[in-house]
Subunit: 148 residues, 2 copies
């Protein structure tokens, strides 16, 4: 039974809020750039990336919701929008009445290739370039430790 | 004109993804606990906190969207839900035909007090307790440096 009376100290809470603030600021900048240049949301980009990296570029909807690094709750709506834009297709799973997989279309892959140029340049500018190489490595290690 | 051809190295991209993954995992755990115990989403909690810390517990909708640390785009919908639950009230700004402020109600403050016990215990468990004191301080410093 976890301790429900534990509270962070003022300093610990500052670190937590700094973490949230950094995430919010960086993802907002990346989102604004993607929308301006490619009319694609960051959540939409996240979905395309996860599908592109999956075997046969397919994932069940539940797997996709687990894989995305941003808005899990909005995945169904995101896929709706990407499907209307021709970037993703939904298919029934043979022999599984309730199973639906999302597939990346060729058009989706093309959009992802172009959008990734914008996005990765943004990751360099808003994240990588703000820290030294040792700092960046250490930040990655700390983040890995947070989810171990 | 920012360099649009910059790409992160494999190691830099690993650090970025570790950062996103840590944020996603921790906020999902915090959200699940808040919903289970208080039927309040993490985004809703974020809105209540920002209003509680504002002068007179009021913020214009645009100020609120800037202040929240989570979903900025969903703020209008979040406030709709919190208003229906009696935790937030919307008021017109006198002398400004288009201005609307959101105010934290007494009931909202009561809910926030109870929910913050759940939430802060979760911040200790999923974030603070996973790192040493020096690591936590350094993580906060790195995150501050990311948004400077």
């Amino acid at each position: 039974m976890p301790d429900q009376s534990a509270r962070p100290t003022r300093e610990e809470l500052q670190a937590w809020r700094a973490f949230l603030r950094a995430h919010a600021r960086i993802t907002r900048s990346l989102e604004a750039e993607l929308v301006a240049e490619q009319r694609l949301s960051l959540g939409g980009y996240d979905v395309l990336v996860q599908l592109a990296e999956a075997p046969e570029r397919k994932l069940r909807m539940a797997e996709l919701a687990d894989a995305v690094l941003l808005s899990r709750s909005g995945v169904t709506r995101l896929v709706d929008r990407l499907e209307r834009a021709g970037m993703v297709a939904r298919e029934r799973v043979a022999g599984d009445g309730r199973g639906v997989v999302a597939t990346l279309t060729d058009q989706g892959l093309d959009v992802l290739r172009i959008a990734s140029t914008t996005h990765l340049a943004g990751v360099v500018r808003h994240f990588v370039a703000r820290l030294g190489a040792d700092q960046l490595r250490y930040l990655g290690d700390l983040c890995d430790q947070l989810v171990d």
